[in-house]
């Protein structure tokens, strides 16, 4: 009985070590697959009404990270019934605005969608294999966590 318990513990330990080493290795060296270069942000129906009612909320993160060669096109869709400003760009109801980035840099936009009034878009260079790719995947995971 004790031997079985030891074997189970050993297996769990081994599996944990494999996962602990395997996930970072995969994140550092696996190619980045993406079926679309676009990051789509949406203004839902009723956004204007919610704001008119005094509700304060951030519709999108104050900072968005994009990556050259992976996800470097920002798409904004206005599903609301009134025009909305995205940065300085006025988007009509049911209109889509598609902005491709062609250079890694940090872009600052005034954005009334945020209580802070600012939207920062960081466009990272295409991550090379190794630390750069691991860091990029970690940052992407953190950003995804923020949206959950």
């Amino acid at each position: 009985m004790t031997t079985i318990k030891h074997r189970i513990r050993y297996a769990v330990l081994l599996l944990s070590v494999l996962v602990a080493l395997g996930v970072p290795a995969w994140a550092a060296f696996a190619p980045i697959d993406t079926d679309s270069p676009e990051l789509v942000l949406e203004i839902p129906t009723g956004t204007f009404a919610r704001r008119q009612a005094g509700e304060k909320f951030d519709l999108i993160p104050a900072e968005i990270r994009l990556t050259m060669g992976v996800k470097d096109v920002l798409v904004m869709q206005n599903h609301d019934d009134v025009p909305h400003l995205f940065g300085p760009v006025l988007i009509m109801p049911k209109q889509t605005f598609r902005l491709p980035f062609r250079k890694a840099s940090t872009y600052l936009f005034t954005c009334p969608l945020h209580t802070s009034g600012l939207l920062t878009i960081v466009v990272d260079p295409e991550p090379e294999r190794g630390w750069a790719r691991l860091r990029w995947r970690t940052a992407a995971a953190v950003q995804a966590t923020a949206w959950l």
């Binding site: 760009v89 598609r98 995804a144």
Partner: protein
């Protein structure tokens, strides 16, 4: 615990690489789909008459906002637009730059004219009352800050933060494209040529 943590990390990594689809475009700038008719305006022109946007139907219009006391972004934008027009060669005759001030207090028609002519004599400036210009900015979603004073300069000198995008309006008067500050002249020339060809 370690296993569940790793699984969560893997899920997040996979989630972060998920993508969604949308339409593609032959234009390199920011594209509006569907395009909308450019809100018309009539302002006092830098050449002394009136500048009415709809008068330029049949041409491709680059609409930009700025002010003549701007130390960096506005001169760079205008030099950029002049370069694009030069690159267009003969096609440049169907390309019109309209530059609307965000600083009516200091930008008279005469001052605008002298400023714009320095870059390209075909550029047209627009000025007006603060209310007229506020209406134009609202129609295009242009933001401008309150006056920014610097301690070392006299009170008559101030700066303004403002949207630095350039809108491209096609021959039929539709807002088709938005070029952020910092794009290359090649990309701008490409998009203007695409719109000129339609």
């Amino acid at each position: 615990m370690a296993v569940s943590g790793a699984l969560l990390a893997s899920s997040l990594l996979l989630f972060s690489t998920c993508a969604r689809t949308a339409s593609t475009s032959e234009l390199r700038g920011g594209v509006f789909d569907p395009p909308r008719l450019a809100p018309d305006f009539s302002l006092k022109s830098s050449n002394g008459s009136d500048v009415k946007l709809s008068r330029y139907r049949g041409k491709v219009v680059a609409l930009a906002f700025g002010y003549t006391h701007c130390p960096s972004v506005c001169p760079t934008t205008l030099a950029f637009l002049a370069e694009v027009r030069r690159k267009l060669g003969a096609g440049g005759t169907d390309f019109q730059v309209v530059y609307v001030t965000v600083d009516p207090e200091r930008d008279s028609a005469e001052r605008l004219n002298a400023f714009l002519t320095h870059f390209d004599p075909t550029f047209i400036g627009g000025t007006g009352t603060p209310e007229q210009l506020a209406k134009v900015r609202k129609d295009y979603g242009i933001t401008v800050s309150d006056k920014i004073f610097v301690e070392t300069l006299p009170k008559s000198e101030y700066f303004l933060d403002h949207s630095s995008f350039i809108f491209l309006i096609d021959r039929s008067g539709q807002v088709r494209d938005m070029m952020p500050y910092g794009v290359s002249a090649d990309d701008m020339e490409h998009d203007v040529k695409v719109l000129l060809a339609k």
